[in-house]
């Protein structure tokens, strides 16, 4: 059974100059699809091909010749001298060649495929073939595992005869039409990504997953990004724990974030005790419980701001870069204007009219729109402009791709990493601004860390004793929450910058 259901795959091997090429020609003449795997290996390391950079990174620049191409002779000396190096080279090139063959088999739509490879027996490609044909020029090399042996020691005509005979003995009827859409079972991906909507989509999803998995692995190595994610996870756990604790362990009368107070503790504000690890505020409320109750609205602000920024900034950047002209002029002027006014001040003016009608989601949305249409859009626009100058966009245009296809296939995927960085920065601003609005007195009934800080500072004006925990605990929570997003954005920025990623690869 071949690796490609619906196709019959012949693996063709034999020593150097044994006549594999001639056999492949005959089979191609019979309607089979011929693939020269050895040539694919060579092509994978040409300058600009996908194998070029990884091989350079693995072995160093000395394998280059004067014109910047990889010198196969030098590379050969390296890998022949060191089995480890050979293994490394193989691990780089095999997946690339395999992907190319996959694609050729699927696009070729020939029922029978011939893969010619000199070292087929040593290669994982062997498993992908239904049968193996070995071409010999007289000797008995490699014939041990052959299904069919073609003896090329005689004349060319004799060889052709043998090939034709072997062809008629293939188990599949040759004249049978090729299925229009070969069903390819997607391998279940590690993330549980089960895709059922057709093989093309599955293939694309798999490719995307492979791409993102590499990114995730790099991200996981970034200490700052890890710390940021850990802080966010901690906050999320606390947010989930609050209603559970309030329903079961904590008494509502004592731990309710708004109305609760503990008669057993006096006077308020009080320092930390076992029952109240962060102490009680000036009204006797448990500070930890208040801190936890403020997490969900803050997450709402963060999520709304993040999504609004992401969508708006990416859309404006892609549209102005693609259409340029008047579209770009309009967007650019609006963005520049929005850039100049701090979103926080605009929201303050809005809030002065709407009083407490601006809830967490609305707040995040407004902030996201102001930032996403402003500074983030400016950054995305200039990045998208540089992307539009890439050769592949021109190639796509020549091939007749429309606006939507170029934007969705070429611009958006490359804009996304930077957009996520901008999104995280917007979240930092939104969280701090939300805290300040509550501090400033425009908070609605929902809980907010900024309001807690304000209450603590206000208490100071009538009382010499400072409720330190009431001021410091929410300050720390808010700053940590915002800093977590900043750290993630930092890590993503390092990831999305190919120059930096490159240098990291080189030094490792």
């Amino acid at each position: 059974m071949s690796a490609w259901p619906g196709f019959f795959v012949i693996g063709l091997t034999g020593n150097l100059a044994a006549g594999k090429n001639a056999v492949r020609r005959v089979l191609e003449g019979k309607g089979a699809l011929g693939i020269d795997a050895d040539a694919l290996y060579h092509r994978a390391i040409l300058a600009g091909a996908p194998g070029y950079r990884p091989v350079l990174d693995a072995f160093g620049k000395f394998i280059l010749n004067a014109s910047g191409e990889i010198d196969r002779k030098k590379l050969g000396q390296v890998v022949l001298a060191d089995p480890e190096a050979l293994k490394r080279l193989k691990s780089i090139l095999h997946p690339l060649v395999r992907r190319a063959i996959d694609r050729m088999v699927r696009k070729g739509k020939r029922r029978v495929v011939v893969i010619e490879a000199a070292k087929l027996h040593a290669s994982p490609l062997r498993q992908a073939c239904d049968v193996v044909w070995v071409v010999t020029a007289g000797g008995a090399e490699q014939t041990f595992a052959a299904d069919t042996v073609i003896d090329n020691s005689g004349s060319l005509e004799e060889t052709r005869q043998q090939v034709r005979r072997a062809w008629t003995q293939l188990p599949h009827a040759v004249g049978q039409p090729v299925p229009r859409k070969p069903r390819v079972q997607p391998k279940p991906s590690p993330a549980g990504l089960h895709v059922t909507r057709g093989s093309r989509f599955a293939g694309r999803a798999q490719a995307a997953w492979r791409h993102w998995r590499g990114g995730l692995q790099t991200f996981a190595r970034h200490p700052m990004g890890k710390l940021g994610v850990a802080i966010l996870v901690l906050f999320a756990l606390l947010a989930i724990a609050h209603p559970l604790l309030l329903g079961t362990v904590w008494k509502r009368g004592i731990y309710h974030p708004i109305t609760g107070f503990d008669m057993a503790v006096a006077p308020w504000p009080s320092g930390p005790t076992l029952a109240h690890p962060f102490g009680n505020d000036a009204q006797g409320r448990d500070i930890l419980s208040m801190l936890m109750a403020a997490i969900p609205p803050t997450f709402a602000v963060a999520i709304a701001a993040a999504l609004a920024t992401l969508v708006l900034a990416t859309a404006i950047g892609a549209l102005s870069a693609y259409f340029r002209g008047p579209v770009d002029a309009i967007f650019y002027n609006i963005s520049s204007a929005l850039y100049l006014i701090p979103a926080l001040v605009v929201i303050a003016i809005l809030a002065s009219r709407f009083y407490s009608q601006i809830g967490a989601w609305e707040f995040g949305l407004i902030y996201g729109v102001l930032v996403g249409g402003g500074s983030a859009a400016i950054v995305m626009r200039s990045h998208a402009m540089s992307l539009m100058n890439r050769a592949y966009v021109d190639a796509s245009r020549v091939a007749g791709a429309g606006a939507w296809r170029i934007i969705s296939r070429h611009l958006l995927p490359h804009l996304l990493p930077l957009a996520v960085v901008q999104m995280m920065l917007a979240v930092v601003g939104a969280v701090v601004a939300d805290g300040f609005m509550a501090f400033y007195g425009f908070g609605d009934t929902r809980f907010n860390w900024g309001q807690m800080v304000y209450n603590g500072i206000q208490f100071l004006t009538i009382n010499p004793k400072i409720p330190w925990l009431q001021i410091l605990a929410p300050t720390a929570a808010l700053s940590l929450f915002a800093a977590a997003f900043y750290m993630i954005s930092r890590a993503l920025q390092d990831l999305s910058d190919p120059r930096l990623a490159d240098s990291r690869e080189l030094t490792r």
């Binding site: 700052m224 006014i341 926080l344 001040v345 009219r353 930092v428 805290g435 300040f436 930096l500 240098s503």
Partner: protein
């Protein structure tokens, strides 16, 4: 360079026009009710009369044109009283500018220095630790930072003035003939002039003598000539007092800003470490500090400036918050104060001035970027040659 400046200024004016229009319509169209509707106890006739007096009964276009006209001629009026928006705003600008220029300047220098020293082959714990510390500063809740500074440095240690209002009163008593706002604007203008002069001096020295002044000498030259010129103009003592009173706002704004700048410098410096010109410089036997300062840090400067342009709105919002929290009488506390009173024309006037401030800072950074990037400069030159 001149063409670049003219183009930039032109597009800035256009942006400013768009900004005023957006601000006006967002506030006027989206908002239910108007200024008058907040007086609940007022009889209807009285309300109508007040609306007519303030021009609120006119169609929105008419209001817009009147407002723009008022802005251009400097005669827009607040809803409260008859004082002109322009005069009020103009008196709030110098305090903000002083904090922005001095605090921002220190933050840039300190951030650049910190980023340079921790980003360049320093031990991992130092580099990561500094990064975490400055991120903490960047994300620190500004009102709480302001409060903590005020409490510890002002009230507990009594090093710096905790309550600026009380100190302004004493300032008026000590210098009855002087206006603090005028002094502040003079300080900013003199500082700008001094920086330009010193920069010109270093350029001349380099051009004709191939001499580079160390950064420490340049900086002390700026500082000394700033103070000397202030004394020469006869406002040395009051200017020092103003700096003393402004120290907490300046410190708070500097701390909020320095984190971002440190991180950017650190990252862009790390990007240059693997460049080939760095290896070349090392191979030539140039001392490590010189490699860092001359070869790496100069190239790292461009991304620092471009990122600073992007994060400018965040920094200015931070400035406004710091001002409001410390009750420093600048644009920031004024815009929040007028918002609380629902005085929309005044709030918009302040907002517009904040926009102008941001625009000025952006323009400055863009010119700096243009000046520092040889690619842009040479592009301009080759164009001229082709013509």
């Amino acid at each position: 360079m001149i063409a670049f400046l003219i183009r930039k200024i032109f597009s800035s004016l256009l942006t400013l026009f768009v900004l005023t229009t957006i601000v006006f319509f967002v506030v006027q169209v989206l908002m239910p009710g108007d200024f008058v509707s907040q007086f609940l106890g007022m009889p209807v006739q009285e309300k109508e009369r007040l609306r007519q007096e303030l021009g609120l009964d006119l169609p929105i276009w008419d209001q817009y044109l009147r407002w723009m006209g008022g802005l251009l001629t400097g005669q827009s009026h607040s809803f409260f009283g008859t004082f002109s928006v322009m005069d009020t705003v103009a008196s709030a600008l110098p305090p903000t500018l002083l904090v922005f220029v001095v605090g921002g300047g220190i933050a840039i220098l300190l951030g650049y220095w910190l980023g340079k020293n921790t980003g360049w082959r320093s031990p991992r714990w130092l580099s990561e630790g500094t990064a975490l510390f400055v991120i903490g500063l960047y994300a620190f809740f500004p009102p709480a930072l302001a409060f903590l500074l005020q409490y510890f440095l002002g009230r507990q240690l009594e090093w710096l003035p905790a309550n600026s209002e009380a100190h302004w009163a004493r300032f008026q008593r000590d210098f009855p003939t002087l206006n603090q706002v005028d002094i502040m604007s003079e300080m900013v203008i003199v500082l700008a002039a001094v920086v330009l002069a010193v920069w010109g001096l270093t350029a001349v020295l380099y051009r004709w003598r191939r001499m580079r002044l160390p950064a420490s000498i340049t900086l002390s030259l700026v500082l000394i000539s700033w103070l000397a010129s202030l004394y020469a103009r006869g406002i040395g003592a009051p200017a020092l007092r103003v700096l003393y009173i402004a120290s907490i706002p300046i410190l708070a704004f500097m701390l909020l800003t320095v984190g971002e700048l440190t991180i950017i410098t650190r990252t862009s410096l790390a990007e240059t470490v693997h460049e080939e010109y760095i290896t070349t410089a090392r191979a030539k036997g140039i001392p490590e500090a010189a490699v860092r300062d001359r070869h790496a840090a100069r190239n790292a400067l461009l991304p620092v400036i471009s990122r600073a342009i992007v994060s400018l709105p965040y920094l200015i919002a931070g400035l406004a918050v710091v001002e409001y929290s410390l009750q420093w009488r600048g644009l920031g506390s004024a815009v929040f104060g007028s918002t609380l009173r629902q005085d929309v024309p005044l709030a918009l006037g302040y907002l517009l001035f904040i926009g102008v401030l941001a625009m000025g800072a952006r323009l400055l950074l863009e010119v700096l970027y243009f000046y520092l990037d040889p690619r842009l400069r040479s592009g301009q030159q080759s164009q001229r040659m082709r013509l």
